[in-house]
Amino acid sequence: MNISKRKFIQGSLYSGVLAVLGKATLLQSAFAEWPTAAFDETEYEPALKGLIGDAEMQESNVTLDAPEIAENGATVPVKVSTDLDNVEWISILGDKNPRPWISRFYFHGKSKPFVSTRIKLRESSNVVAIVKADGKLYTSKSAVKVTAGGCV
């Protein structure tokens, strides 16, 4: 009686600890690797390298929707989607921004590989979207003419 009770308590303690560990790991993986190496760079090429290293990108499968002309560079609507499966993340950059790397979105569970966001553009430039799916990189870019630069 005592032993089985102790075992029961031990068992429930273990599963409690495991549940907590599992949760902590999940949180960490959701927030893993904030891309400091990309954020710190003030030029596009080094920022891109900080994000993807020397990996090759394919110019296909990414749909990038950004305006041809943005009257206000402080808030430029951008949508990115892809027909690829197993999308790990979508990242957005602005090649003339003082910090070209802007954002990266991670897809878990049943989320769709789609994002709609608003970004700052300092001046007329290319918006670049990069998708990582099945370990491979895909990209698309879109030129945006900015008539009043964003305070970036």
């Binding site: 904030w34 989320s111 994002v115 709609s116 970036v152």
Partner: protein, 104 residues
């Protein structure tokens, strides 16, 4: 803080679309105060995540290039009306904010 975020979540067919606006200055750290001429310190959301009934479905890392009062919309399958979507952010100063919506 009741006014730190607005979240809407709408189910259409099998897909839920979430739209959120988070009230945050998203200061880049390179802007000057017009009166004093001094740099305004960087203050921006770095990490944000969305959970469905407590499970993370989408998350993001943001830099200073995301607009002030960030707008974020995303989509996912597998939810039903009445489920709860919660969005939580953490900024570079360690402050956090959250908002949630019941899927309609």
């Amino acid at each position: 803080m009741a006014d730190e975020m607005k979240v809407r979540a709408k189910l259409s067919g099998t897909t839920t679309t979430v739209k959120a606006i988070m009230y945050h200055p998203m200061e880049s750290g390179s802007r000057k105060d017009k009166d004093t001429g001094e740099l305004i310190p960087a203050h921006f959301i770095k990490e944000v995540k969305a959970e469905l009934n407590g499970e993370t479905i989408i998350s993001a890392d943001w830099g200073t290039g995301v607009s002030k009062n960030p707008y974020w919309s995303f989509e996912f399958d597998g939810a039903k009306a009445g489920d709860t979507v919660k969005i939580t952010w953490t900024d570079n100063l360690g402050e956090t904010g959250s908002g949630e919506a019941v899927i309609k």
